[in-house]
Every structure is written in structure tokens, then in C-alpha cells.
Symmetry: C4
Subunit: 264 residues, 4 copies
Amino acid sequence: MQFKARTHRLLEVGGDTREELIFDWGIMALIAANVVAVILSTVDALYLQYQALFQLFELVSVSIFTLEYLGRIWAVTVNEGYSGPVTGRIRYALKPMLIIDLLAILPFYVGFFFVDLRFLRALRLFRFFRLLKLARYSQSIRSFKRVLQDKREDLVVSISATLILLVLAASMMYFFERTAQPDVFSSIPAAFWWAVVTLTTVGYGDVYPVTFGGRLFAAIVAFLGIGLFALPASILSSGFVEQSSTADSPTYCPHCGESLREEH
Amino acid sequence: MQFKARTHRLLEVGGDTREELIFDWGIMALIAANVVAVILSTVDALYLQYQALFQLFELVSVSIFTLEYLGRIWAVTVNEGYSGPVTGRIRYALKPMLIIDLLAILPFYVGFFFVDLRFLRALRLFRFFRLLKLARYSQSIRSFKRVLQDKREDLVVSISATLILLVLAASMMYFFERTAQPDVFSSIPAAFWWAVVTLTTVGYGDVYPVTFGGRLFAAIVAFLGIGLFALPASILSSGFVEQSSTADSPTYCPHCGESLREEH
Amino acid sequence: MQFKARTHRLLEVGGDTREELIFDWGIMALIAANVVAVILSTVDALYLQYQALFQLFELVSVSIFTLEYLGRIWAVTVNEGYSGPVTGRIRYALKPMLIIDLLAILPFYVGFFFVDLRFLRALRLFRFFRLLKLARYSQSIRSFKRVLQDKREDLVVSISATLILLVLAASMMYFFERTAQPDVFSSIPAAFWWAVVTLTTVGYGDVYPVTFGGRLFAAIVAFLGIGLFALPASILSSGFVEQSSTADSPTYCPHCGESLREEH
Amino acid sequence: MQFKARTHRLLEVGGDTREELIFDWGIMALIAANVVAVILSTVDALYLQYQALFQLFELVSVSIFTLEYLGRIWAVTVNEGYSGPVTGRIRYALKPMLIIDLLAILPFYVGFFFVDLRFLRALRLFRFFRLLKLARYSQSIRSFKRVLQDKREDLVVSISATLILLVLAASMMYFFERTAQPDVFSSIPAAFWWAVVTLTTVGYGDVYPVTFGGRLFAAIVAFLGIGLFALPASILSSGFVEQSSTADSPTYCPHCGESLREEH
């Protein structure tokens, strides 16, 4: 039982003993190395030459991830919130982070049962969900979360406005350009691609208007794209400024203890 | 008369009874579904296969929108501001939102009288004005409106500066490039397209300078384009910060206790 | 003499009598119309068809601008600062605004003396300096000026950093790409075009790296380009916030007259 | 010894006597001129015509830079922190600025020993490190440094999020596009180039998705790119606003008169 509790403390992220820190950073390094390996394994020249090495590293890292996953499921019952041997473990396994962890190891085993290796290669891309694990290790994200939460409604309104703008821009441009470029602007869904590429100011150059009306309308859309950058930037700005102005200035004088905010 | 008042309350957006909420959200869902249907109907492959379905949904949704439109016009006389049976209804029908609602259903009937079906397809694009109806359902837009109103003058000045910059950029670039690229920079209006694509940093790549002078000038314009992003972002930022700081700054004088907000 | 003073008051921008306002707005409308005419006259199809009309409007507007220019020079001596009949007038004529006004009418007369009409067409582009005249009519620009002045040093530092970054980016990219693309990256000045197009995120697509090293370096430069947008936006933001926070909150209680800033 | 101290004061940047100022600005002008010369020398047409001039200027400027470098190393022993004739000088020579200064002159001498001139031309690009010397001469950078330091953690978090986003975007896009465009999206590292070009909204147009799924995913990535611009802009905004508001907020408690800044 002592061992289970220690396993639980070790495997759960966080903790301040030396071995807990080493374990947390070790797993994180292994995740990063694994991501790099998956990326490099898609380069044919590299994969063909070091196939055995890639497969060995795959085997080792997936084994460690599997042990870690099973260990966490096994030891979680020491946590009072998940004390039920079956129901507690199932509830724990259904937490988003645990599902991501499972998705990171599953493709390896699923690939084992089938024969088609190309299918396996497509599946192994899902292993990139391991990256999201990294998020579990960060603390500084909290301040961002608070700003995003404070400004949630403003952001939702601007995203909605953007989507409506996107639909209007795509439909209008289809109306202007479909006669001149029937292949490129063949339908409104096709015109959506143009609208996205223009509003975000990416401008690949694979689709662009050629008629006078289309260009005039595209100019208006492109300038609205500037507003699209200005809105989230200014919303988040005010969020960060509010946060720091609340946190920074002292509320009570540290010397006499009187409130510095009376007037507010 | 009781029925007319109830119809008015139901059809006008807003209200807190269960049936009013269901009606508002139902109409909104129908508008969204209709927009999606119009978008998909421009994809030839889909339209040819599901033509009957598209036309049926068209018939049903336009019927509901027509009934809603006529109901609103008929029932508005219970509102004291529009009590005249004829003049009140006409004044109501001329409100921007009502005109948009009419434009959303009119193409259907206009298409019925004519024979040319292609003309009909162009007209049905106007039905996208229905999207704007969505704006009527949102409340959070108010805070944006206030910031835009507070910063109206600053935004007008920056838009004016942008337009002057646009004219200067287009004319100068015409001067630099017309000899080297007489087809692309054939006139100043043609050079405007380049200026828009560059200042908004979209950069499709269909027009760009090739001469030394043109490239030097384009570099200056592209860097001014950064300022074009910075201006609205910073103006709106200060608008949002002011709004939130208005809630923070002292409301009452700490000396005499009188309100400091009257004067504003 | 009375006439001269009245002319001076009328021709100098500003003033609140009805005729002064009409004159100011009339000149501004004529400038705008003239700019539009010059733009349209570069469209060959239009120019060939309405040549006489363009030339007539040109004659009329340049005549009015010339009379206005000469009138201002003549009448300025009633202003104490420019009372010298010759030296005062010369000092006045050398003010930037007056030079711009002169440049707006000069091409017309210079074109009269020479024979080559194509040369004339190139010169008339300088007439676009008339646009800058518009700046004289605006009042709201003052607040922008103050922010730009407050943040002058910060902006100069960021512009300097950008220029150094530009030089480094161009030289490095020349080093990476000149072997693979000797035509496109033929020299460092040629690589500058790439650096500008990338740092400003315009991305025309006429020049881009193809080697591994070049792309890695381009990725770093492109991400620095984001910082290039963030810097002026945040500098101007703080400028606008400072300005409004100084102007907005009352310094003295309007009721009891006591300072609300004591503590500051 | 008097001479050594005077040399030290002269060669170290900073100082207020007339000759120190002239020396500092003279060296800076020479650095700028040298950078321009290196840039122009890569233009073949110019280099072939003025080869002797370029080489002479090279010789002169490198000689001066070498004398300055050796002088600084020699005279630094008058500084108490580097008083050891050998160890002090070595510690001084290992400071980043001194290493950059050395890298700026070394290519010249290294090029002298080898014969292959093309190799020399590649090496001379390192001379652009001289540009970084310019940073030593600026004072206004301090305020930027403070904002960057205050917001260090926020910036690190957003850069990390960007990198994870980059990996996810590249891997996903490889999954979507590799069948349709096996040449362009041949591997995940190749897809990284697309991810960078899209997230930074550069959009050269050399790589872009063509499948439906790829375009849908690219649209999401492009809109996340807007957030990528908004985050640093808003973080730096709040940093600059805080800095200026620190100067504004009360320094002393209005009740007991004690300083409120000690604790910070």
C-alpha cells in the first residue's frame, strides 16, 4: 500500500522531491525525443537507412509510456476522489489528459494487429497528441487562461463576426468572379478558401480576383482583415493591462495598514 | 386583438417566456440552415444530385420567413410608435432590418415571375443578407459599439490617412513600373490593386515591382503597412483599456463625497 | 490694403465666417476632383475618348490653384511675421506647404515649354503632391502627432533595430541561397527585396528560399516579423492609453476644488 | 601609464569629452560605411569595376578596426576588474562584444592565408557581425530591455505554444496533403516550411494545400496565426503601459507618508 501511494505521487505530475522532479523532466524529455523521432521517420531517406533504430526507439518509448499509463491507472485509487477500484479508475481514465495519453500509445498496438503497414504510418501521426502532454507541465499558462476567461465574451463576439464576414465575403466574391474564373471560383465553398487566405492576409496567390468588381470587393475585405488583427490584439491588450493593474498596485499601505483604495 | 399583441411579442426578437425563446432560437437555426443550403447549392455536383431536396427546403424556409415577415408587419400596430394601420406599417417596413428581411425572401418570388433560371441563381445570392439578421440576436456587441463610438474620430483620421497613402502609393508605383511592366501597371487604377495587396500585407504575388526604384518604393510602402496594422490595434486597445478603467477610477470625491461622474 | 487683409484671411486655411468655410471646402473638393482626374487620365481608353474634357478640367483647376498660390504669396505681407515685401514673401514661399503647392502647379507650366508630351505625362504625376494639401485641413491629426512625439524615441529605436535586422537577414540569406538560386539571390542588395517582403509578411512569392538552411533561417526571420508588428502596435498602444488616462480623469474635484491627485 | 589610461577611456564606448564623442561617432560611421561596402561588393558589376577601391577601403577599415581591437585589449588592464596582464585580458577578450569585434576582423586575415578567393567571399559575410557593434552605442534600448524582462515569462509561454502549434500544424498537414502532393509535402520536416509560411501570414505561395481537408485545416491554422500576432502585441502593450503607469501610481502613502515602493 505504501508502494502504491509512492507510485501515485511519483507518476502524478508535480512534486518537489528530487526523484519526482527527475521523473517529470525525464518523461518530458522522452516525449520530446519521441516527437522528433516521428517527424524524422517521415523523411524516407532517413527512415530507410535507420529503420531498425527508429523501430527500437519506438518500442522502448511506447513501453515506458504504457507502463506509466498503466501505473497511473493502477495507483490512482489512493486518491480519495477516485477510490473505487473499478468506477474510480474508469472515471480517472476518462479525463481528457488520460485519453490523450492513451491515444499516444494505442496506434502502436493497433498497428500490431493489422498487416498493412502504410495504414500504420497514417495512424502513428495520432501519436503527436503526446505533444499536448507537454501542456501538463507548464504553470505560466494560468495567467493567459485568466485573460482568455475575462475576455471570453469579447473574443466570442469577434470570432462570430469574423465567421459571418467570411460567409459574406465568400458568397459575394463567388458572385463577382464565377463568370471570369469558373474553374477557381466554381462554388461558394471554393470561394471560402479565397476569403480565408485574404482575411488572414496570408495571400498564397493561388486564388485572387481578376475582375474590376472582384478586386474592389477584395480590397474592402483585405482592409477588414486589418481590423481582424486589431480586434483580438486590442481585446487581449486590455485584458493583460487590467490584470497587471489589479495585481500590481498595493491595496493596503504596508506601513500603516490603511486602505489605498477607499475612494474606489 | 389579444392575439395580435401576442403575435407581436412572439415575432419581435427578445422576450423571456419559454415559447418566445424557442421561437427566437428556432428562426435563428432556420436562417443558419438556409445559409448553409444556399452555399452547398452552388456546388454543381451536390445541386444536380439533390436538386429536389434543395428546392423543397427553399420552399419551406422561404414560406416560414414570409409568414414571419408578414406577421411582423401586420402585428406591429399594437406598438404605440407604429399605431397607424398604413403609415405606421410603412414606417416600420422601411427600418433597415425589415428591408434586409424583405431582401432575403424577395429573390424567391422575383425568380418565379421570370423565366431565365440563371438570373435567378445570381439573385439568390442576395439571400445572404439573412445572415445579418443574426446580428439582431446578439447583446455583447454593445461594448464593441461603445469603443468604436469613443474612438470614431481617431479611426476616421487613420482611415483617411490610409486612403491618401493608397492614392500616393498607387500613383508613384505607376510612375516607377509602367515602362518595365506596361501590362501589369497599365494605369493608376491598375496600380491601386498592387497598393491594396501590399499595404494590407496580403501579397498574392500577381503584381509586384521589378525595377530597382519600384522595389525601393515598395519596401517603404510595405513598412508603412505595418503602421497600418499598428494604428487601429493601438486605438482600439486604448478604447478597451479606457472602458475598463472607467469602471475603476474613483466615482466620488474622497474630500467632499460628491459624485465625479455627473460632468461626463 | 483692406482688400489684401481680407484676401489673406480668406486664402489662409481656417476661419469661421461662412465664406471662409465655403472657400476652404471648395478648394478641398477641387483638389480631390483633380486627383481623381489625374488617376483616370492614365487609363488610355478613357483618356483617348475624353481628351478634351481632361485638358479643359486640367486648365481650369490649375488656373484656380495658380491664382490661389499667387494670392497667398501676395497677401502674406499683412502677416507681421512675413511683412518684408521681398524677404517675407520668399521666406513664406519656402515653407514646406507652399513648396508642395508650387510642385502641384509647376508641371503644367514646365510641360508647356517642352514639346515631348510623354515627358509631360511623367511630370504630371508629381501633381499628386496636391493630395498632401489635404493634411492642412484636418484637426484631429493633432492627437496622433502628440502620441508620435511622446513615443518618438521608442519608435526610432524599433525602426533602427528593424533596419539592422534587415541588413543581417539579407546578408545571411545571400550566403545561404546564392549557390542554389544564383539568379534570384545574385547579390546582397537583391536579397534585401526578399528580406523586406518576408519581414513585412507581404510574401509576394517571387523570391523565397529553397535550401534547407535558407528555409530554417527564413523561418526565424518570419517569426521576427511578428515582433516587428508587435513593437509599434504596443508602443502606440501605451501612447494612446497614457494620453487618454491623463486627459480623462479629473485632476480637481469640480465640487470642492480639492486636488484628486495629491497622492501622485 | 597615463597614456594607457587615456587610451582606455578613449576606446571604451561612452564618455563626454569632445574627442571621445568624435572617436565614438567616427568608429560608428566607419562600421556603417564598411557594411555598405560589403553589401555593394557582392554586386558583380560594381565589384569588377571598382575592385581596387573596394580592396583599399577593406584594407584601411580592417586596419583601423584591428588597431582599435588590440588597443582595447592592451589598455583594459587599467580597469580594476581586468587588472591581470594575462588573465584579465583573456577574460576581457571573451566578453560577447569583444568576440563579435574579433569575428569582424578575423575573416580578412584568415582569407590571407588561403588561396581560394571564393572561400574568402563566403567568410567575409561574417563581417556583418560588425553591425551588432552598433548596439553598443545606443542608450534608448534600455526601456525595451526592461519590458522584455518584465514580460519574459509570458513571452516564453507564447513562443512555446507557437512551437507546439507549429509541430502539430506541420504533422497534420503532412497527413492531409501527402497523397495529393507527394512532392511538396514529402515529409513532416517539409511540411514545417508550409506551417511557418502560413502561421506568420507570409504566404509565399510555393506550398499550399489543395485537398478539402487540407484547406479546412489550413484555414484553422491561418486564423490561429492571427492569435500569434495578437499575443506578443498585447503582452508588450501591457508591459509598456505598466512601465508608464508605474511612474504615475502613488509613490508615498497618503496616510502615513511612507514610501510604497520599497517592497517592489
